[in-house]
């Protein structure tokens, strides 16, 4: 899966996160995470994000995350939504998202 257009999911409100995805010219995934709880949960957030990207099979795209202390399930859902929008997927394999 590749990001082919810019897309957005989520909000900047407390306990949520904003995920922005943009295409990259080459096959590379670049993830940048900013979080209000970076020191405490930064590593865990990164793991959740990377696992979600791997599950979706993303091979190309820039992913920028502004986290406001979201729970893991919210992070997964927002990342999935942004990627699927950015990759212009309209046929969903829901089992892949679980």
């Amino acid at each position: 899966m590749k990001i082919i257009k810019e897309a957005l999911a989520g909000t900047l409100e407390s306990s949520d996160l904003l995920v922005k995805v943009t295409p990259l010219p080459e096959d590379r995934v670049d993830v940048v995470i900013q979080s209000e709880v970076m020191h405490q949960f930064g590593e865990q957030i990164r793991q959740v994000v990377l696992a979600t990207l791997q599950q979706l099979g993303l091979i190309s795209g820039q992913v920028v995350i502004e986290d406001k202390g979201a729970l893991d399930c919210a992070i997964r859902a927002r990342v999935q939504a942004a990627i699927l929008r950015g990759a212009a997927v309209d046929q969903l394999d829901w089992s892949k998202l679980s």
Partner: protein
């Protein structure tokens, strides 16, 4: 009491009553209304207008919230609404001007500092990788040499003056990087300007012609440049553009000298040239200084050649003097598009 915030979008020019309410909120927050903004996101609590943020293309302006409601989630909701609106309009990459004291607030909304004029204004963008990725791309185009020159030109349109400046700069440098201002708000379209520059500099061996970007002389870095016809010359805005150039663009390409023509006619460009010496050479900076070389204009039939002169002649329909002012490709272009 209903303390829910309701957000929606208005055009202050079409909706006078709400425009006046926005004006009052901005005044309360020591901000001026920017007349150019066609879209405002406003937030209401009950009937009271408590938040507003303007969107001018990809630039966020005039952000204000009622002072008594700060510290709640109002500002973050407002910024979220603006970002969503911008995406709907096709702008994921946004810029924002603010006072340096507000940088940490907008940092919480996903904006990152690009350049600051201390005590006056900071330009931010809503991505942590924007300028970095741009600098990385430029770095791949680095050329060896001790004296690396740069010219940024709008070339509206390309004249013998531009050609003279390019050839002179190239002859004095190991390599010359030429950027064409990308913003499409000039009389001649970016595509046409770039094509005419490209034709006009052909044959100069030690030159790279670059597409401009939103990081140089754009509506984001230098908003007032494009409103010069209105006689507005921003004090700080050219500074932001030049600080960005010195901090990111010059180091990426190893630029040591920036060349400009002296400006006899256009006040904004003349001010920009003066500011250039201040911000590229004189001002304190962590980035190395870039030497500004001001080249006197070439003179043809006793008039200094300038693009603004060409535009003036076009307006008055005076094509007779053109061959003395512009190279063949520009001349052909003007004849095929303007001669009657």
């Amino acid at each position: 009491m209903n303390d829910e915030f309701v957000f929606y979008t208005i055009n202050p020019h079409k909706n006078w009553d709400e425009g006046a309410e926005i004006q009052r909120l901005l005044t309360l927050c020591d901000l001026d209304m920017d007349e150019g903004i066609e879209t405002f996101v406003v937030g209401r609590q009950g009937r009271r207008l408590v938040a507003c943020a303007g969107l001018d293309g990809d630039i966020v302006k005039c952000v204000a919230t009622a002072p008594d409601l700060r510290g709640e989630s109002l500002s973050l909701k407002l910024m979220g609404e603006v970002i969503n609106l911008a995406v709907e309009q096709g702008h994921l990459h946004l810029f924002l001007f603010t006072h340096p004291s507000n940088v940490s607030f907008f940092g919480g909304c996903g904006f990152y500092e690009l350049a600051e004029v201390p005590g006056y204004v900071t330009l931010m963008e809503n991505t942590p990788v924007g300028i970095k990725r741009y600098s990385d791309q430029l770095r791949k185009l680095t050329q060896p040499g001790d004296k690396i020159g740069c010219i940024v030109m709008n070339a509206n349109p390309f004249t013998f003056g531009h050609q003279y400046l390019v050839r002179l700069a190239a002859s004095q440098c190991d390599w010359l990087h030429v950027f064409v201002v990308r913003e499409d708000v000039s009389q001649f379209s970016y595509r046409d300007r770039y094509a005419l520059v490209s034709a006009g500099v052909a044959g100069v061996p030690n030159l790279t012609l670059h597409h401009g970007s939103e990081y140089m002389v754009s509506r984001a870095t230098f908003p007032d440049y494009f409103f010069k016809e209105k006689g507005m010359v921003g004090e700080c805005c050219s500074a932001i553009d030049l600080i960005l150039f010195r901090k990111y663009i010059a180091p990426a390409l190893g630029i040591t000298h920036r060349f400009v023509g002296t400006e006899p006619f256009c006040k904004t460009t003349r001010k920009y040239n003066d500011d250039m010496k201040q911000w590229l050479q004189v001002a304190d900076s962590s980035a190395p200084a870039v030497t500004v070389v001001e080249v006197p204009r070439t003179v043809s039939s006793n008039i200094a050649i300038s693009a603004s002169e060409v535009r003036r002649l076009l307006r008055s329909g005076d094509m007779a003097k053109m061959p003395a002012l512009v190279p063949r490709d520009t001349l052909n272009f003007l004849y095929s598009n303007y001669a009657t």
